[in-house]
Amino acid sequence: MAMTTTGAPGRGWLRWLVVAIPYLWLIVLFLAPFLIVLKISFSTTAIAMPPYTPALDLSAGLGALWEQIQEFTFDNYIFLTEDSLYLQSYLSSLKIAAISTFLILLVGYPIAYGMARARREWRPTLLMLVILPFWTSFLIRVYAWIGILKPEGLLNQMLLGLGVISEPLNILPSTLAVYIGIVYSYLPFMILPLYATLEKLDETLLEAAADLGCPPIQAFWKITFPLSIPGVVAGCFLVFIPAVGEFVIPDLLGGSDTLMIGKTLWAEFFSNRDWPVSSAVAVVLLAILVVPIMLFQNAQKKASE
């Protein structure tokens, strides 16, 4: 016991090391890159290598550094407000992410509920089946949807074969295909937290509700659902936050009319080679997402109280 108490001499540095590792990780792999992006967002485009100025060359000495910093500008952020494309991309991303989150909840809740109510010996297998898609590359799974949704793809062939439709459906590329892709890809992130909450639910609570005169469907809304809200909240944020910045799915499945900020950012960075503006886009996206992240953390804190 004495070895682990704070008073133990000679062991203090070990405690610090243990605490410091995650912080170091965050500083090196999150904070530093973010500061670089933030710095670039205050720069001006230049035909140079790197393609912006000032480059903040430390070799020129501190005085030169200060001069360079004085060149910083908010022009890129002002530009974002001037061109309506950016605002539209942000709003469209938030809308697509919100609708997708709702659809994923609608699909994921019954699945998680079914898993939690399945016989105990089946549950590990069902859980495995939910995780199984992760064993294949995300990119390949999205490509597979192209094979399913394209005009001569599996879905159209099946529907034509069954005589449900006479003309192939033009699902690909479209915003609908993006919804299908997002719902499919992010579904496990909804199911897992929901399952974890529902599985813990004490079934005698439902017996107690029935005993007090509550039929099963009402008992779901009065007992099961309210008690699963921490899982619903966790699942929704786990889906919503990455879905806002999603790039691969709208790029592969979306049409030219599918506006998402991830795509806009990519175009700005690689097609226009405008690093400062694309950095500003990224910083604003982060600022937008900080709001739901803080809400999420608040909800987590409340749940654990």
């Binding site: 005698t204 609570l205 017996e207 107690a208 007090l212 005169g213 009065k222």
Partner: protein
């Protein structure tokens, strides 16, 4: 057992008449099990069981775990349906009626309080479910809170309550709808001994005051003896004996019952005479000759068992007048001091052990009888019973 004095007068009115509808052939049973069998796969939880419970009765289902007592109760609540047979309540067949339409309420062993609702909403849950008017709900909930003395805790969530308080909320919630039958599933199992004993008397008081029918499931024989008007002792899906606490303690019908309820000495023997309502047994293990009053259960030549409670065996350093009947001698082997009583284990010459309890009527300065003393054990003809199974 002391609790029975509280329930003795429950038939109401000025005359202290014993409450015993089960002895009245005209009394209509309130809850009836008719040849009920319940199987789970290969396992028979309840085996062709018939049972009558009467209105205003405090009825205990007692038995070891897995004896089917909980299944029996869950069939009244509607959480289990009998595989065959009928469960009737107040003349109505309950089979096929879902739990949410039954006029019974249950207090769960785990209390099953809704964690997302405060005490007030937990108690109001069943009333809201019935579509009761808001003002009436408020009145009823306040009444229930007063009944269990939790007025100050109405806005607390279950996790902010102690075990005893949770137990009271669960009780209030299950009483709020004025059920025809209140089912109590090991209601006091999670409480410590002192609180449990207090609560037992509160339950008796409550049941008498409300005039309701209570059915309690318990594995604790003392609890069953304290609270119940009648006890059904179960084993392997069958009822072994139904009787009042006094009868089940003093007149067990089998070795199983005698052994389950309280402490007892059981001596194996052979019936050598049954003259004049007195059975005489020659006991094999002890060499003692036992004479015991009986009402005709044991027949001449039967193999039988003489069962006697330790408190009915007297212990003495001097031999009795007639050491040939209802007396054995031995040596003090062990003494268990429990404070109020001491349990003496007497090793007989044959190697068998007989227990005798002595009430410690004075402070223990020195024991008049102590380890390795040669002693005589005696008992009266009315002390024990003769059992044939």
């Amino acid at each position: 057992m002391a609790g029975k004095s509280l329930t003795a007068g429950k038939s109401l009115g000025p005359v202290r008449r014993a409450f015993a509808p089960w002895n009245d052939p005209a009394a209509k049973p309130f809850i009836q099990f008719q040849n009920v069998t319940k199987t789970f796969g290969d396992f028979t939880a309840v085996d062709d069981l018939s049972l009558n419970i009467y209105e205003r009765e405090f009825f205990a289902l007692l038995g070891p775990s897995g004896c089917g007592k909980t299944t029996l109760m869950r069939m009244i609540a509607g959480f289990e349906e009998p595989t065959s047979g009928h469960v009737m309540l107040d003349g109505q067949d309950l089979v096929g009626v879902p739990p949410y339409r039954r006029p019974t309420n249950m207090m769960f062993q785990s209390y099953a309080l809704f964690p997302h609702m405060n005490v007030w909403d937990n108690i109001a849950f069943g009333l809201k479910q019935d579509g009761m008017a808001k003002a009436d709900i408020a009145t009823r909930v306040d009444e229930m809170l007063a009944l269990v003395k939790l007025e100050k805790f109405a806005r607390r969530k279950p996790h902010q309550l102690s075990g005893g308080q949770k137990q009271r909320v669960a009780l209030a919630r299950s009483l709020a709808k004025k059920p025809k039958v209140l089912l109590l599933d090991e209601p006091l199992g999670a409480l410590d001994k002192k609180l449990r004993e207090e609560t037992q008397f509160e339950l008796i008081d409550l049941q008498v005051r409300l005039g309701m029918t209570f059915v309690i499931v318990t594995h604790d024989q003392e609890e069953a003896m304290t609270v119940a008007d009648r006890i059904a002792l179960m084993d392997q899906g069958k009822i072994v004996q139904i009787a009042t606490p006094g009868e089940i303690y003093e007149q067990p019908n089998s070795r199983y019952v005698a052994d389950f309820i309280g402490d007892i000495n059981i001596l194996e023997g052979k019936v050598t005479s049954t003259e004049g309502g007195v059975a005489t047994l020659d006991c094999i293990g002890t060499g003692a000759k036992v004479q015991v009053t009986q009402d005709g259960g044991a027949k001449l030549g039967d193999e039988a068992w003489f069962a006697i409670r330790p408190e009915k065996v007297s212990i003495s350093l001097t031999p009795p007048e007639d050491p040939s009947v209802n007396a054995v001698s031995g040596e003090v082997w062990d003494i268990g001091y429990l404070g109020d009583v001491s349990i003496y284990h007497i090793r007989l010459a044959t190697g068998a052990t007989v227990k005798s309890t002595i009430t410690n009527t004075t402070r223990l300065v020195s024991r008049p009888i102590t380890w390795e003393d040669k002693v005589w054990l005696t008992w009266s003809r009315d002390g024990g019973v003769v059992l044939t199974r």
